[in-house]
Amino acid sequence: MPADRNTKLVTAHFGNPDAKTLAGYERLGGYQRLRKALGMKPEEITAEVKASNLRGRGGAGFATGMKWSFVPRDAKTVHLVCNADESEPGTCKDREMIFWDPHLLIEGMVISAYALRATHNYIYIRGEMMREVVVLQKAIDEAYQRGYLGANILGSGFECHLTVHRGAGAYICGEETALLNSLEGERGQPRLKPPFPAVKGLFGNPTIVNNVETLMNVPFIVDKGGAWFAELGVGRSGGTRTVCVSGHVNKPGVYELPMSITMRELIDDVAGGVWKGRKVKAVIPGGTSMPPLDESELDVLCEFDALMTDERIKPVEVLPGQLFDMGGGRNLRTMAGSGGVVVMDDETDIPMAVWRIMKFYAHESCGQCTPCREGTGWLEKVARRVAHGEGKPGDIDLMATIAHGIAGNTICALGEAAAWPMMGFITKFRGDFLAKIKGAAA
């Protein structure tokens, strides 16, 4: 049965302080799914996750079961790492989930670790999430005491350890190979792929890196089956969709919704509409790395494939009439990303908003690849002067060509994360940039 607006999985315990304690979580049915999982074969769990159409909730939307199946069958040591480095601007779901339901994450991780035969596992949490570090560590300590973690979990013979590894302020560590370097005690700079982490990751061992929300969905899949989870969703996207709505709406919030909801329903019905009686100008659909939608494009579903392929979304251009090629002639529309939906009303200063986004990427570039290190710096500089009314004729094309020079030419996707919104905003709001530059010339 498809999910409706009352279907709550990963946010079911929001607002319920009971769920944070182990006793309270057990009363809510917690860790029963772990018991069930330990009675299954690891391959059976992976098969259910594959059948569930669970896709990564961190940004890329990659099929989780597929990712798990990349671990070589004869691997002796495997690690599972939870990516809790949520820092994509506009995204605030993982932090809330850890805060309200830490045991659901632990249960999801132990089940997933069992499926992957992973013993020493880690949660990489953002350094700034200090309150959540405390909540999570307390929950882990409780889980060890009750035998949900440790040497012989519930008498099954399965050994699983969880260690919280706290970051120290670096957006790039949300990129999975940078995260692994940071976990190893290095500077958080991404690694070249291949080898992919599933083959050679943490400490040289096969490693699966999954997002918080992704792992929290696993207990439900074990409980009710992959087919049930797949049916909740739409097409190749199983389950519910948790979005974080922020910006110019009346009711910002973290909402767990059906995949079938449209952007317009999300804004008007769920988030209470645009504030101050205004209209939508732009919507970032999945964190600032994603190209924006304009007001005419809001009837598409908030689902992974729809946002990539729905032809009602205008493809991103480099220059007017020149479509951006993602490789192999593929157009870029946008992506569901991390679920961070940022709504901008019709009085928003778009060049100023874009400058703030570029300032972020310039600050967070790790400096390893020249196109990103230099390119994000230049994007910030040019965007700043345009935003502040000091733009020069030609600056719009200059920003677009710098962005185009970054995309596809860097080790990790931070390059695209800066380039895509730059080209995307120019494609859809060129008039706003032109008006600022004309104002500067006048």
Partner: protein
């Protein structure tokens, strides 16, 4: 004089070393602990971490200077992390930042007595923008007129980041 860790921190570091195949991954936690115990990460604190984990000082320096939460300079007890990224900016974060700067008489990045102001990148509280954190304390849906109260509260009861480590 060379710095030392307290017995409590030493115990924590030893316990963490058991969780990884080598000592190197513990460098991040050890730097957090050194910062907690010595206020900031001067050269002597970096040497302490290097010595404790048997790592080259250059490696520790490289890690300490990569991540923004490690401070090479002293800071106030309360580090006010004021988010100005997109979701917060759209709802007035720069006015909030300015209100803190005026109230404390210091610009972002600077320290005034018990307070250091940091212009922070997205702190994952976008649904309650503008957001400010100080240690484990969140201030949500902040308006400039609340800034005075926040400062007074933190002056009376500081929330140092070290309390988490």
């Amino acid at each position: 004089m060379s710095l030392e860790f307290t017995a409590e921190a030493t115990k924590k570091i030893q316990a963490l070393c058991e969780r990884y195949p080598t000592k190197k991954p513990v460098v991040m936690a050890a730097l957090h602990l050194a910062q907690k115990e010595h206020g900031h990460l001067g050269d002597d604190a970096l040497q302490l971490v290097a010595r404790t984990l048997e790592l080259p000082l250059a490696h520790v320096y490289g890690v300490a200077t990569f991540y923004t939460m490690y401070r090479r300079e002293p800071a106030g007890q309360n580090i006010l992390r004021v988010c100005t990224n997109i979701s917060c900016m759209l709802r007035g974060a720069y006015d909030v930042l300015e209100a803190f700067e005026q109230r404390l008489g210091v610009k972002k990045g600077g320290t005034a007595g018990k307070f250091t102001i940091v212009e922070e990148e997205c702190i994952a509280a976008c649904a309650n923008a503008p957001a400010v954190i100080c240690g484990t304390q969140y201030y949500l849906d902040v308006t400039p007129d609340q800034v005075g109260r926040i400062v007074d509260e933190l002056r009376a009861e500081p929330h140092p980041e070290g309390e988490v480590v």
